[in-house]
């Protein structure tokens, strides 16, 4: 069964993309991540033009983050003030990122930049997660207590910066600069690589800002909803690269898959989950990296103007 995608200007196998959406949704529900970092490469591998893949994945991220954010909100796990500061940074980063997409496309380096960004971030995050998860599995075997991420009275350079603000929910009194910078960086990256950036923001919030773990996921999701929504609108206005038909297929299958993923996740052990996720992240990283180093079949490629911008 095929359906013609009006913006990508190609027919898509509905079953293939429904399958892809539900698989990514399942994994995102299972691991509690947005899944954009898996979805965008999969879309590109299946022949969707990179700008359309990035723009459309942003819409899917909105859908998958909304339900998560609502659930966290009801459990009072969202630090709204922190979320707003991150969001302010995220908006700036996202605006710059969408412009950057336009510039890179004109220069013919967009695909390269996306691939490099993926290899770098997935490689680093995947390796860190793998090390952590292997350690956790070993600790679980020897019945050791896990290390605490945060101990009171501990300070680092982040806490010596000016413009301090009090974040009641996170029980923090820190400068507004680090959260702004983290938000901006993640917003920028999200706009370029079509991922929510939760996989970067969550570790940054825990290790750099030293936020309590229970509010990290909720606050991150809260911020991602708004940044991804803004990114979607900007990709639509600046690059004309959001395909609503493709988005709809991915959203519907994604949100359903995510619910089953979350149910399955409740039955698996945390450290095993993280080990699996690390392996998955490294696999995607290796696949993208391979295309960068392998000799291409044809050194030449051609591109037409896509929705106005060449």
């Amino acid at each position: 069964m095929h359906i013609y995608l009006p913006i990508a200007e190609m027919p898509a196998n509905v079953l293939l993309f429904l399958g892809m959406g539900s698989a990514v949704g399942f994994l995102s529900g299972l691991f509690g991540v947005g899944g954009g970092f898996l979805l965008t490469p999969l879309l590109i591998f299946s022949g969707i033009p990179t700008p359309v893949a990035v723009g459309t994945a942003a819409a899917q991220i909105v859908a998958s983050s909304v339900s998560g954010a609502i659930a966290q909100w009801q459990r009072n796990n969202v630090d709204i003030k922190m979320g707003l500061v991150l969001l302010a940074g995220g908006i700036v980063g996202s605006v710059i990122g969408v412009q950057m997409v336009r510039i890179l496309r004109l220069a013919g380096q967009f695909d390269l930049f996306v691939a490099l960004a993926y290899v770098t971030f997935l490689g680093v995050i995947g390796t860190l997660m793998l090390i952590e998860a292997v350690g956790a599995v070993q600790r679980a075997r020897t019945h050791e207590r896990p290390l605490l991420a945060r101990s009171s009275g501990q300070h680092n350079w982040v806490h010596r910066l000016p413009f301090k603000m009090r974040f009641h929910r996170s029980k923090l009194y820190i400068s507004a600069i680090p959260p702004l910078a983290i938000g901006a960086f993640v917003g920028f990256l999200g706009a370029i690589i079509g991922a929510g950036g939760g996989f970067i923001m969550v570790p940054a919030m825990i290790y750099l800002l030293r936020m309590p773990t229970n509010v990290v996921i909720g606050t991150s999701l809260f911020q991602i909803v708004f940044v991804a929504a803004l990114t979607t609108v900007m990709h639509a206005t600046e690059n004309y690269s959001v395909d609503v038909v493709l988005a709809l297929i991915l959203i519907v299958s994604g949100v359903i898959g995510a619910q089953y993923g979350a149910a399955a996740g409740a039955r698996l052990k945390g450290e095993q989950l993280r080990l699996l996720l690390a392996a998955l992240v490294l696999l995607v990283c290796a696949r993208i990296g391979w295309d960068l180093v392998a000799t291409p079949e044809d050194l030449y490629s051609i591109a037409t103007s896509f929705g106005g911008a060449p």
């Binding site: 200007e9 859908a63 639509a236 959001v242 959203i251 291409p296 037409t304």
Partner: protein, 305 residues
């Protein structure tokens, strides 16, 4: 677009059709097409080439010059949500045909189906520190978005190079106009390799195609050719050109336009995305938010039950 002008007086008319009012009424379209018909016929009559002299004794009566009349199976192709590519049949007949049978090979026919010219960038990768990176680029002001050629036999055997080149017939002679800014920087050999790359990549992509024996005579005068239009064909008008040859001499030509347009939901979505991008973006976000809310609400009810 320049290619059209060369062939017929109707070129100007065609330009108006391409650039002009896009949602023109079907009545106006029919009228324009009908006018195009007349024009094309007039041109055919003006074709200066004389018919080959008939062998003496074979036929006594004074012979009328052969002309070709042709049409396409569908002059308007709608791209709907179910569009998965289609096939265009170009058919026609030779008036005053002197061909004894369909298999005689007395005439040669070339059919060209061409899309609109559009700017294209060709890029070349090279290895930079172990990574394959786009390092060279070459701009073309225009390259046809789609180009298909069908003929009764290989075109090199039908007509000479200069004619093929002048009329942009064949994959080697597709009209690719390099942009001045790129020509200044590049050497002739480079330009050639970039031109070849455009044709090669489009050929691999199924957008440029060639079928040497695809025009088939069904009778003494009737011929047909079917040309594949892939699903990812760029949306825009197409032009079908038909050339009738006899021993390397062109006897007659014919031209017909094919509309390739989005229709129904596809048209509506495209129009929405291009004319009101901000609203379209917000609409997409709204769908996403509603889907997310619905899913979490549905799941919560399920979990509670």
């Amino acid at each position: 677009m320049r290619g059209l002008g060369i062939f017929c007086v109707a070129g100007a008319l065609c330009l108006v059709l391409i650039d002009g009012a896009w949602p023109f009424s079907s009545v106006a379209a029919a009228q324009t097409l009908a006018r195009g018909h007349e024009d094309a016929r007039r041109i055919v009559q003006r074709t200066p080439k004389a018919a080959p002299a008939p062998a003496r004794g074979e036929q006594a009566a004074p012979l009328l010059r052969e002309t070709v009349e042709a049409d396409v199976s569908s002059r308007a192709i709608a791209i709907t949500s179910a569009f998965t590519g289609t096939e265009i049949v170009v058919f026609g007949s030779v008036l005053n045909s002197r061909q004894p049978s369909a298999e005689a090979g007395y005439y040669d026919v070339i059919v060209v189906l061409e899309g609109v010219p559009e700017p294209v960038v060709a890029r070349r990768k090279s290895n930079v520190a172990g990574l394959w990176v786009n390092t060279d680029a070459f701009d073309f002001e225009s390259a046809p978005s789609y180009y298909a050629i069908a003929s009764t036999r290989p075109i090199e055997e039908i007509a000479d190079e200069s004619f093929l080149e002048a009329h942009a017939i064949g994959l080697d002679y597709i009209r690719l106009s390099p942009a001045a800014r790129s020509v200044i920087r590049a050497e002739p050999a480079e330009i050639k390799s970039f031109k070849e790359a455009v044709v090669r990549r489009r050929e691999q992509d199924g957008l440029y195609l060639k079928a040497d024996y695809a025009v088939i005579f069904i009778g003494k005068s009737l011929f047909r050719a079917s040309i594949a239009l892939p699903a990812h064909v760029p949306v825009g008008p197409l032009t079908a050109r038909v050339y009738l040859f006899r021993e390397g001499e062109v006897l007659s030509t014919f031209q017909q336009r094919v509309r390739l347009e989005r229709e129904g939901v596809e048209l509506w979505i495209y129009w929405f995305a291009m004319r009101h991008p901000a609203l379209y973006g917000l609409f997409t976000v709204m769908i996403a938010v509603i889907a997310g809310l619905l899913a979490s609400a549905a799941f919560r009810r399920k979990a509670a039950a």
